[in-house]
């Protein structure tokens, strides 16, 4: 997917004036917030679990090589294969290679953000394969040729009417005038269509919420059960995951899972938690004949030891975007690439560069709600500020802003001049605004007065009045 992150302001403007989208956003967002709040309240140790989660991931990141090698050894021992991939291209080629070797034509896919990150569907398609998304939300946006707009609810930007229209256009074998008015009916139709695909597929690709070093297992959580069919029915199961998803033990995995479901959807646990350990063993009734883990770095290891390391604790729960007022205003597509919301504002500059993604860390009020709910206690605003520092160092910010801040900083370092300057500014503004209480328009403040008035200063600065008062005392 070609990023449009550099065009964030235009993307945002379009989203803000899209009435259909605004209607969906205004109703979709609040549900997650309430559900998470209640789930956290029901579990007295929730805050303590967040501390443990943070500590666990910090430990893993400090010993990442050890745990990844242990994981690989276990996978291999059980007859599986680990494919180490530095870049997205290497990962695409690894997956294509597996498919080609199997003479595969149809590939089913469970939900995976990494698959989005490497653009695997387009790549497989371009190479003559047929990738089929099996998660309902992913299936819908695949039919619409759209990227996901949320990391756990990819089609959250769509209404049920939009989905009905999409199905009518795509499922042409069904009668056009059939009734598609209820989510239940839509789900049943998708299930019916997808069942056939599951049976045709030679390869199934899933993501992984976790990789377990001690057992060489991978874990996915889903609410639809599509992930299970994706990995059990085809002959070959390919897991695609990034290196930050490893944890030492199954016990550690349960800690993450307790945090994940509550933070994401407010559930105690997702409907399905599926553990995959190697290919089918003699005597197993089902399971794939081949088990591959495509282990992707794609810039993660470069963040280790930097001010951005903490972001690798992310478990992709989506809570930060559910609580973000900017995401809630513009939706996920405005972010222009795979990861929206606060996590995207930190990850996308890392993956795409600050030149492409520099708007995102700036488009935040630093209200701090994301950090307040992040199960892994990732200091997201602080990381966005670090990206702003990188931009400042590289001189990437708009010249007017840099100059303005420069002048202001020069004065603010010199208290006497600063107070003289503010006195003069307030006097000038006072003369302009006297008696009106506010300005509807103000030179150099168009960004403010486009949408709101500017309250007028009262008259003299506080410092000036305080000095006068002290003189009298």
């Amino acid at each position: 997917m070609h990023p449009t992150t550099h065009a964030f302001p235009e993307n945002a403007r379009k989203a803000l004036s899209d009435e259909r989208l605004q209607k969906v956003l205004s109703t979709a967002g609040t549900g997650f917030v309430e559900k998470r709040r209640k789930a956290a309240e029901r579990l007295p140790e929730f805050e303590a679990l967040r501390d443990q989660g943070r500590d666990l991931k910090n430990h893993v990141l400090a010993n990442l090589d050890t745990y990844l090698e242990a994981f690989e050894a276990k996978v291999t021992e059980q007859g599986g294969h680990v494919h180490w991939c530095r870049t997205d291209q290497e990962a695409r080629d690894a997956i294509l290679g597996i498919c080609r070797k199997a003479n595969a034509r149809t590939v089913t896919k469970g939900k995976s953000m990494i698959a989005e990150e490497i653009g695997i569907n387009d790549y497989l398609e371009a190479n003559g394969l047929i990738p089929i998304e099996t998660d309902l939300g992913e299936y819908i946006i695949q039919l619409r040729h759209e990227p996901p707009s949320h990391i756990i609810a990819p089609a959250i930007h769509l209404s049920k009417e939009d989905v009905a229209e999409t199905f009518r256009d795509a499922h042409t074998e069904l009668p056009r005038d059939r009734l598609l008015d209820e989510p239940k009916v839509l789900i049943a139709e998708a299930r019916q269509v997808l069942r056939r695909k599951f049976q045709e597929a030679e390869v199934g690709i899933t993501g992984a919420n976790l990789m377990i070093a001690e057992t060489g297992s991978t874990i996915i959580v889903t609410n639809e059960g599509n992930g299970d069919l994706t990995q059990i029915l085809p002959r070959i199961h390919v897991v695609i995951a990034t290196i930050d998803k490893v944890v030492p033990t199954l016990e550690d995995a349960t800690l993450v899972l307790r945090l994940l479901a509550r933070s994401a959807t407010g559930q105690e646990a997702s409907a399905y938690t599926t553990v995959s350990t190697g290919p089918k063993r003699p005597g197993d009734v089902d399971g794939p004949e081949e088990f591959h883990v495509v282990l992707l770095d794609n810039g993660r290891s470069a963040l280790l030891g930097t001010e951005f390391q903490d972001v690798l604790r992310c478990i992709r729960c989506g809570a930060c975007m559910n609580h973000c007022p900017v995401y809630g205003s513009v939706g996920g597509h405005a972010y222009g690439w795979v990861y929206p919301g606060p996590i995207g504002s930190v990850m996308q500059p890392a993956l795409l560069g600050v030149k492409e993604a520099g708007h995102l860390p700036n488009a935040s009020t630093f209200c701090g709600r994301c950090e307040a709910v992040c199960p892994m206690r990732i200091p997201l605003p602080k990381m966005m500020r670090h990206w702003r520092e990188k931009e400042f160092e590289q001189g990437l910010q708009p010249a007017t802003m840099r100059r303005g801040l420069g002048v202001w900083g020069w004065f603010a370092r010199r208290p006497a001049l600063y107070h003289a300057a503010t006195r003069m500014a307030v006097k000038a503004l006072g003369a302009l605004g006297r008696g009106k209480g506010r300005f509807a328009r103000l030179p150099l403040a168009e960004g403010w007065t486009r949408h709101r008035d500017m309250p007028a200063p009262e008259g003299k600065t506080f410092q000036q009045q305080w000095a006068e008062r002290k003189g009298k005392r």
Binding site: P325, S329, E389, V426, P457, E458
Partner: protein, 257 residues
């Protein structure tokens, strides 16, 4: 006073926006602190806490301004700030900014330990439970983000407001959601900011309150500017003005003199 302890010496950090836009808030803060038994001084060497530079990625300017503030406020028992945002900058971010500068890091920690936002200082440190003030009206209260999430200010203003004669509080649904100000955010991304403040004033209007209060001038200018642009009669004030009982000394923010 029978108490033998000397009055706490408080340095008031005025903040840029109070200094320039709303000196009334500064005087309200002085009155509240003096009524609670403090001696208040306003060092003239103070300028800005440096947050605009810090949040724009200019650490060097931010660190210079942090040093300026630290030097200006050495020697006070407490430093009090009528803003959760500037208060949070001084209390939390100076330490981080100067961490690599051993001499100043220690001074930053020392200042951090003595710095408080105004209302939480009154309630949590001085133990003030009621104020001598009257305000005939129904108010609603917006929790400014930094005060709420960096400094834990939530109950304190409500507790003190409840002691104001004639005042009723109607709680604001979504009081913890950002108003869309965000410093330079509101001019860099004016359309997103506008969308956020529109939602905020819709919530404010629904409460039926005649007055909106908050503890941070940035948010107040933003919300007042939007309310006034929409022609709303809702009055907007800094919470300190109501607690100090000085509302007859200045018209509400953005209203006619």
């Amino acid at each position: 006073m029978s108490d033998q302890r000397p009055a706490p010496r408080v340095g008031l950090f005025v903040t840029c926006l109070v200094d320039v836009f709303r000196p009334t808030v500064g005087f309200a803060a002085v009155k509240l602190l003096e009524d609670a038994g403090c001696t208040v001084e306003v060092p003239s060497a103070q300028t800005c806490c440096g947050q605009p530079a810090f949040n724009s990625g200019d650490r060097k300017t931010a660190a210079d301004l942090a040093r300026n503030t630290i030097a200006a406020f050495e020697g006070f028992d407490y430093v009090v700030v009528p803003s959760g945002s500037c208060g949070g900058q001084i209390k939390h971010h100076y330490k981080e900014l100067l961490a690599d500068d051993p001499a100043w890091a220690a001074r930053a920690h020392h200042l951090s330990a003595r710095t408080y936002e105004l209302v939480s200082f009154l309630a949590d440190v001085l133990g003030v439970t009621n104020v001598e003030a009257r305000y005939d009206g129904t108010v609603t209260y917006h929790d400014s983000c930094s005060g709420l999430r960096e400094l834990g200010i939530k109950e304190q203003p409500r507790r003190l407001l409840n002691s104001v004669d004639g005042l009723t509080i109607n709680e604001l649904p979504g009081a913890e959601v950002c108003c869309g100000f965000g410093g330079t955010f509101c001019v860099k991304y004016p359309d997103i900011s506008n969308h956020m403040v529109e939602a905020k004033i819709a919530d404010i209007t629904k409460t039926g309150a005649d007055t909106l209060l908050a503890g941070d001038m940035g948010c107040l200018l933003n919300m007042a500017g939007k309310l006034k642009r929409e022609g709303s009669p809702i009055r907007v004030r800094h919470v300190a003005e109501v607690l100090a009982g000085v509302t007859d000394e200045a018209p509400p923010i953005g209203d006619k003199t």
